[in-house]
């Protein structure tokens, strides 16, 4: 069945209160979010290679959507839902996942896929209630290429690495688009908005920007699944994905843990195991 048909049926049978998916955008290469509450509205849903958004953001409590929520989910987005379930932000039964088979998404009109799509292992989502269309097989890729961008930075001497990041953060205007687009940044009071004490300065100067991006990367360590929304929404082209990728790499090396896979697992920074590396505790 097409995604539209699935959505229409879910709304007709009242299996869900609302379906969140994609609809046609107002300019080329863009799609909009559609929140359909009636079967008639479901006719407007689309799914194509421009459907880049991670719609799992609409599951977080600030959106107050009536449950159960039907959601159009790509493979990467599904991993986010695993994270939200692990952290008790949404109950599995409150989200009806319409799985979408995806061969990659893009924001450019020349069809060049997003970086994350080249290394995708979840063309078919691993978590869904219903799958639209037939499952597709994974495309092989060179694992070493996946970390190429990260390795380039890691190979730089420390001073050069520092200069690189300070130049990137110089562009940051503290719009917090990265935070707002991230489904796992659901804190009702973000640390940067806390004034007693003021942990992170809100001004867009070097110290403030560095503190902000560091604290966000640390707060996402072991939780970020690499959906890439933060980097996509950053209009200043700051390669935020690299910070999260670095943290994910560290977490994997220390604890052998990958986020977004097992809804019953505990993220490493909220749990401990007796075998955890302790050599640094003196």
């Amino acid at each position: 069945m097409t995604p539209n048909q699935i959505a229409k049926e879910l709304l007709e049978s009242k299996k869900v209160s609302v379906v969140v998916g994609y609809s046609n955008g107002s300019i080329s290469g863009k799609t909009q979010t559609l929140i359909a509450r009636t079967p008639e509205q479901a006719a407007k849903f689309i799914f194509n290679k421009y459907c880049v958004n991670n719609l799992a953001i609409y599951l977080t409590k600030v959106y107050k959507l009536p449950k159960p929520i039907g959601l159009f989910v790509k493979g990467c987005d599904a991993k986010t839902i695993v994270g939200l379930i692990q952290e008790h932000q949404v109950k599995r039964e409150d989200v009806y996942i319409i799985g979408l088979n995806c061969e990659g998404v893009t924001e450019s009109l020349n069809g060049e896929l997003l970086g994350k799509c080249r290394f995708c292992e979840v063309h078919t989502p691993k978590l869904f209630n219903v799958l639209s269309g037939e499952a597709i097989s994974e495309k092989p890729f060179d694992v070493s290429e996946k970390f190429e961008r990260l390795n380039q930075i890691e190979e730089m001497p420390v001073e050069q690495r520092w200069e690189f990041w300070m130049k990137e953060f110089d562009k940051c205007v503290r719009c917090y688009a990265c935070r707002q687009a991230c489904p796992l940044c659901y804190c009702e009071q973000c640390i940067v908005d806390k004034t007693q004490p003021r942990w992170i300065e809100s001004s867009a100067h070097a110290v403030g920007n560095l503190s902000w991006h560091f604290i966000r990367a640390f707060h996402l360590a072991g939780r970020c699944i690499g959906c890439g929304e933060c980097e996509r929404v950053c209009h200043q082209n700051i390669p935020l994905g690299l910070l999260n990728m670095k943290m994910a790499k560290e977490i994997f090396e220390l604890y052998g843990y990958k986020a977004g896979v097992d809804a019953d697992a505990k993220p490493p920074l909220t749990d401990y195991k007796m075998e955890d590396d302790q050599h640094f505790i003196r």
Binding site: S26, Q32, T33, V62, K171, R174, S203, A204, G208, Q236
Partner: protein, 345 residues
């Protein structure tokens, strides 16, 4: 408005400005991003034919992203309070588009309303705006909806336009522009009028989105504060404030103190009505507690409230908000949709 023929090309003009010791700010690629930055060599600039517009507007040169306004320190427990004197030197911003230049006369009103913001005004006085008319537009542009055209001189000190042969002509549209021209008379030759204006500017005006019916929109906004339609638009909005920060006319700011040991600065920082804590009272009450209300505030402020107070639309149709919005919440679509559905109380 006096018109001058520019005897050089665009790049050479920039070169001449630099050679004569002017501080020049122009669109340049910085860390993969097209931004207005101070340049030291003409090789750093991006030529106008290679961009529609920069990522950020030029407002940060009059209204910086973060700006100290007051300085204080404790010396032996005695408090010392001083003005923060910003180092503001004369600078030339070149490569601006009419939508960015036209934003300044609009926000001049709020920064001088009842109380004059000397920080903004000083930067405004010291900055010369050289606008380049648009030979192209993209799908997000809608300047003609808000009283501007691809070759408007509003807000500019000098507007550069081409004739059919491709030569540049400088329109000195302000006193400041005239003063700059007088420093470069070796490359600028006064003419009476430009008879063979390049038709590309009219063509570009046709390319941009169909003009909005501003009166209908204002009328609807006047009567529909409580219309349930706001719930639908706001429901999609992520509250990411990309629109507000990239917008050449958005001007909301926060005032914060930052102190280290005995010395501190009070800063004016960009802020946005889209942030959840923007209107949060210390009692915990928040009049705009959900995103729908915050999105409504944005649209109302741009197309109604600013108009009510200053008779101007707080928008120049530059389209940055549309290009940057992660969920393609298109303000033009929202306000024109209002008039089409004719929804009213």
């Amino acid at each position: 408005m006096k018109i001058y023929k520019l005897k050089t090309g665009y790049a050479e003009f920039v070169n001449v400005l630099l050679r004569k010791g002017k501080k020049v700010v122009a669109p340049t690629i910085y860390q993969n991003t097209l931004l207005f930055r101070e340049i030291n060599s003409v090789n750093e600039i991006v030529l106008p034919e290679n961009y529609i517009n920069t990522v950020r507007s030029a407002k940060e040169f009059m209204f910086p992203i973060t700006e100290p306004v007051v300085e204080f320190s404790y010396k032996n427990k005695e408090l010392q309070l001083d003005d923060y004197e910003p180092e503001v030197n004369e600078k030339v911003i070149i490569g601006l588009r009419p939508c960015d230049a036209a934003a300044f006369p609009v926000i001049d009103d709020i920064f001088n309303y009842e109380y004059k913001d000397a920080f903004y005004n000083k930067r405004r006085e010291e900055t010369i705006l050289i606008t380049i008319a648009c030979e192209n537009a993209d799908e997000s542009c809608f300047c003609t909806s808000v009283g501007i055209k691809p070759d408007s001189a509003q807000g500019s000190d000098i507007l550069l336009k081409k004739n059919t042969a491709g030569n540049y002509f400088a329109y000195a549209s302000s006193e400041k522009g005239e003063r700059l021209v007088n420093q470069f008379l070796d490359i600028l030759e006064e003419i009476i009028e430009l008879v063979d204006e390049n038709p590309v500017y009219k063509q570009t005006a046709e390319k941009v989105r169909t003009p909005l019916e501003l009166e209908k929109i204002k009328d609807w906004l006047d009567k529909n504060f409580d219309n349930p339609a706001w719930d639908e638009y706001g429901a999609r909005c992520l509250g990411c404030a990309s629109c507000a920060f990239l917008c050449p006319t958005c001007h909301c700011f926060d005032i914060v103190d930052e102190m280290k040991y005995n010395h501190g600065l009070r800063r004016k920082n960009w802020d946005a009505c889209q942030f959840p804590v923007f209107t949060l009272h210390s009692s915990g009450h928040n009049p705009r507690d959900v995103q729908n209300k915050r999105y409504r505030q944005r649209v109302m402020h741009k197309f109604k409230y600013y108009n009510d107070r200053f008779n101007k639309i707080l928008c120049t149709g530059c389209g940055r908000c549309i290009r940057a919005c992660p969920v393609n919440l298109d303000i033009y679509q929202v306000v024109s949709g209002i008039t089409q559905t004719g929804v009213s109380k």
